[in-house]
Amino acid sequence: MNRDTFETRLFRVLRWVVLAGLALATLFPFYYMIVLSIRPIEDLLRDPGALWVSVSQWTTSTYEEVLSPEDAGGQGMLGLLVNSALVSLGTVVLTLLVSIPGSYAVSRLRFFGHRQVHFLFLAVYLFPAILLAVPLFVLFTKLGLRDSLVGLTIVYVAQTIPVSIYMLRNYLSTIPESIEEAAAIDGCSRGQVLWRVTVPLAAPAIMANALYVFMIAWNEFLFALLFLVADREKWTVSLGLAQLAGGIEVPKTVLMAGSVVLTIPIVLLFYAAERMLTEGLTSGADKG
């Protein structure tokens, strides 16, 4: 057997080993999260190694506890889900309103400074959130915006704009300019061209981008922790869950139910749009 056949065979086997290992490593934690969330806590303590619970043992009391409002003895996550949804949707709408014209300008129009603008976006994208945390914390305290969902939304918009413009610009540059020119000749103003021609054509990219922005806002933790921690009414789910874990003794199974509730919306959205999302993110990657 020469080196070539040896290597070819080796990698054929190795490939499946790697695939199995990766599938296990990425899927198991999520599977485990779900299994624990429907297990009674005594059952977990009795047999921590169990990979499966018999159906008769299943319980939904963990979900009841985590979702029902506080005055009913629960942890009130339903209210926090609403907060998270408001902040995330608000971030999506505002980011799109700002970044659609922005990305159009960057990809189509030559304006003063249009070259430098790329550098600015890269800088903002790379600029670490923890460095902004200090001045924004102080600034929002001064402005009285700190304990508000509006303030949080503004921060998220600024954080998501660079990626949003990058994704949309990549897509817009694949739309032939001649279509827009034709509309302009037919008498559309630039705003009308953008609104009636470009936006509908870019709808898939805009959807993918909206989902990505939603994901970032929904998952965010640092700024929610810094800004909202004082006012329980305004917590997002991520923050609520973290506080739950750090607070009084709450069974781990309840914590897992909360994690499932927090994860489900994102995973559903992600599977609905996986292809669009990955293409939107990586288009242009082959040029680097």
Partner: protein, 313 residues
């Protein structure tokens, strides 16, 4: 109304369309960033922040106390180890995953989706699952470790600073908690590298490899001499991105260990300065030190590894 030339019109329209973006970025990123510079040189606590002006009492005191505070230099070292370890691990895993998923097979779409889960799932949720899985009391990892490998004692993955492993008669110290958070980082961010490397791999023309195969190059040789050079640009870019992100990562470490057991990365220290001591000045100084290190690394990347303008398509 007098209309300008087409060129001027375009300029005006472009500026008008980009200005909301610039406004937000200016207000929420650039100005706060500049303000950090000011804050770092003032003795400010959250209590007196309201009546401290821009031009008051500049001092180097914050830097003196931050650099001199116990644990500063060890935290720099921890941050570096964490950032480099997390970067290398996520890139290596991402590369292996991209190579394994390169050719189509049944279920590839599903697997590709599954592999992105750690990246898209909320950090709070995945950090908790890891915490529960790694728990010494009821964690499944310790339970199965005892069953399969005969661990005599459960390992406290997230709370134990150091363990010694005896290997060939030598006692080797292992930073347990730090390694665990690095592995978590690698796990959570390999999908990011995977996604970009897979996209790049699929854009490489098949003839290149076909020609090498005909010339008798083995799979490892083809990887070494054909695929790797093609991937080098993306790998350098990803390494830079991941390093910058890991270097200032907060939530992962904060949620897993709270910065304890030898995982005192710089960003958690910044957070502690603000929330535990309300010391805005010291927090800014610490943040600034972090930014300075980052700038050095970015400059090195731009000088030596960034694609030159003429390479760009």
């Amino acid at each position: 109304m007098k209309k300008g030339s087409l060129r001027q019109q375009e300029n005006r329209a472009g500026l008008a369309m980009i200005s909301p973006t610039l406004l937000v970025v200016l207000a929420v990123v650039v100005l706060p960033m500049l303000w950090t510079l000011v804050l770092a040189f003032q003795r400010i606590r959250l209590i007196n922040v309201r009546d401290t002006g821009l031009f008051e009492r500049y001092t180097l005191q914050n830097f003196v106390s931050v650099f001199g505070s116990p644990g500063f230099w060890s935290s720099v070292a921890t941050t570096l180890v964490y950032a480099i370890g997390g970067t290398v691990l996520s890139l290596a895993l991402g590369l292996v995953a991209a190579l394994a998923l390169r050719k189509p097979f049944r279920g590839r779409g599903f697997l590709r989706g599954a592999m992105l889960l750690p990246y898209v799932a909320p950090v709070v949720a995945v950090a908790f699952v890891w915490e529960v899985m790694l728990s010494p009391q009821y964690g499944i990892v310790n339970e199965w470790g005892a069953r399969l490998f005969g661990w005599d004692r459960p390992i406290a993955f997230l709370t134990q600073r150091e363990a010694t492993i005896s290997l060939l008669g030598m006692d080797i110290p292992v930073p347990v908690a730090l390694l665990t958070v690095i592995v978590f980082e690698g796990w959570r961010y390999f999908p990011f590298a995977f996604l970009f490397l897979l996209a790049r791999l699929q854009a490489i023309p098949g003839e290149l490899e076909e020609a090498a195969r005909v010339d008798g190059a083995t799979p490892t040789q083809r990887f070494r001499h054909i695929l790797l050079p093609q991937l080098a640009g993306v790998i350098a870019l990803l390494a830079m991105l991941r390093f910058v992100m890991n270097f200032t990562k907060f939530d992962d470490v904060y949620l897993l260990t709270g910065g304890g057991a030898g995982t005192d990365v710089a960003s958690v220290r910044v957070y502690d300065f603000i929330t535990a001591r309300f010391d805005v000045g010291a927090a800014s100084a610490q943040a600034l030190a972090l930014a300075a290190v980052l700038l050095v690394f970015l400059a090195v990347y731009l000088k030596f590894f960034a694609p030159k303008p003429e390479d760009k398509a």
